[in-house]
Symmetry: C2
Amino acid sequence: MVKTNKENDSTLRVMKGIEQPGQINMELVGKFKSRKTKNLPVNIYIDGILAGNHTILSQAITLVESSLPKDQEKAQEVITACLKSRQSAVGSRQSTTVYPDKDRKNDPVGSIRIGITGAPGVGKSTFIEALGTYLTQNGHKLAVLAIDPSSARSKGSILGDKTRMEDLSVDPNAFIRPSPSTGKLGGVARKTRETIILCEAAGFDVIIVETVGVGQSETAVHSMVDFFLLLMMADAGDELQGIKRGIIEMADAIIINKADRDNIGKAKAARVEYANALHLFPASDSGWSPVTDICSSITREGIERIWEIILKHNELLQKNGYFSHKRMEQNLQVLEDCIEEGLRNHLFSRKNTAKAISMARSEITKGTVSPYTAARELLEGYFREL
Amino acid sequence: MVKTNKENDSTLRVMKGIEQPGQINMELVGKFKSRKTKNLPVNIYIDGILAGNHTILSQAITLVESSLPKDQEKAQEVITACLKSRQSAVGSRQSTTVYPDKDRKNDPVGSIRIGITGAPGVGKSTFIEALGTYLTQNGHKLAVLAIDPSSARSKGSILGDKTRMEDLSVDPNAFIRPSPSTGKLGGVARKTRETIILCEAAGFDVIIVETVGVGQSETAVHSMVDFFLLLMMADAGDELQGIKRGIIEMADAIIINKADRDNIGKAKAARVEYANALHLFPASDSGWSPVTDICSSITREGIERIWEIILKHNELLQKNGYFSHKRMEQNLQVLEDCIEEGLRNHLFSRKNTAKAISMARSEITKGTVSPYTAARELLEGYFREL
């Protein structure tokens, strides 16, 4: 659907930042909401995102999450434009005010991506609310994304998230987006990666990706962030039941949350235990030694320290070159993952493949066929019919 | 090449166990060594393996390691036959004497696969020599395989291994095979998995897979064994530099080696540290809590205890069903890996693919193209030309 010139003009006024993103023309938002916004022209998405318009950003993310080939084609155009804009923004970094921290003005990358995980009940939402509010009060723009394909979250869950993050949900410098509600982890991870690109192009300089930490999703999150934070409670014994093995060794920081009221002593003791344990771990490739700390999302004690830890980590990795190296490695991994996904999708698009694989799995489970033979026969059939 | 009947007869005498595997007719071995043994008929390989003939087993492994399509076809036949023989062996388990441990006679699986990793210098070879000798003295048959594609080991390294494992190398109940000397990790891992099948069909009831623990190979080993043992030294601080992060959380046991002479006190202290750290880790899916212990490969103090730990682990996992569940999961993973490998190999077999991927990687590194776009263009070109 092509929009009229008049509509485009007024639309662009919002998108190009003539109205401030935080003070969106509500009449226009109403218009957007009432139409099939997926049919917006590509340049409207791009201009809107670059102008920092939350509504357009939201609609562009919906486009990215769509599985329709036509939408995907459009989405890739938007993503490519966003990547290019980030490139040029890096070139003119000196003049931007994205980084209030004075020593980060020359940051060649332009954002910090933080993964936050922890067992259910550990207080992730209130922690993100506390850290996020601190960040926006200090001049940052924060996007909070969730990656959690295993949960029962529905499309309505954005309300749930926003309720749990009361201040951030009405903060003009914050943007909260729940996990795509459908799809397998691989697809969700890919869409989250692409959403990060859009958010950064929209001017968000801190991206928090939240995951529940009970499934495989924390590995996916770890592969798309710069800093990985594991949130814990003092009663480690009970709460450890909820998280997966392997997470602790991924963590750049283990933070004991709920260090308030009667809990402070216990939290401090837990911190010492984790500090002792971490020093037995091999150093990470980045040269960063994982740290431990305590905080309270209620009293906000420790929140500032945690941001300082993240900045210190960033500074070290920027200096030794590991920061951009890691992002580059992550991008190369995305290439590998996409190729693999594309090849698999093609295999599964052939009639009978799904059935053949399901039969192979059943026979392997019964032990009546070797997985090598099963794979070989399956592929032979596939390539024969190409 | 079809062998004459006479040759087949005498060959089979060895293979069918008329000569004991430990007392191989050296004249025949000479014959095998002097001919292109890869051209042996499939049934000779199979009969030889099932008869427990080390020489034929060795030659079959060479067949498995060959990358020639013709050899691979033959190798798959041998592997399938070995898998089937194991199935029937499981059915008649009562009558075998493979398991001297009286409470394991009804073991429905038929072997224990142990992964052993640790930094260079931690004493893996002497530890395997100590544990292995204990096992063969107690009626077990032990195969030691290595998986280490990153090392500079050449084909001649079997001599090195054998020198380091003096007793095992001349033990008729032990079989030592170094890592395939060429190929990427994926290929080496696959060949090692297949080698395990051959060894088990040849009657080896304990399989040790050794890895250096400095690369990615320990993840591959973890995915093919029942029990994963991390070998450490007392001076954790120094030696931790040598191993990769993530290994500690994979371990079913952390064993402090070299607990002899002046080292015993330090080893005990290190054990306590690791025990404290491990109790902060989430429980593993199997219900097994990782344990710590000390040992000396020289005085052999602790070696028997380590075998008891492995048996205890086995007993728990057999009882709760996780043992066969895990093996089944591993086999299903092999199916996935083989499919992926097959699809990728086909992609790379097309002219220009390697060049196109290399160009894409270079552009991604420079940041001039998004990995999504690069993957998409690459796959479009591939599928168009199919």
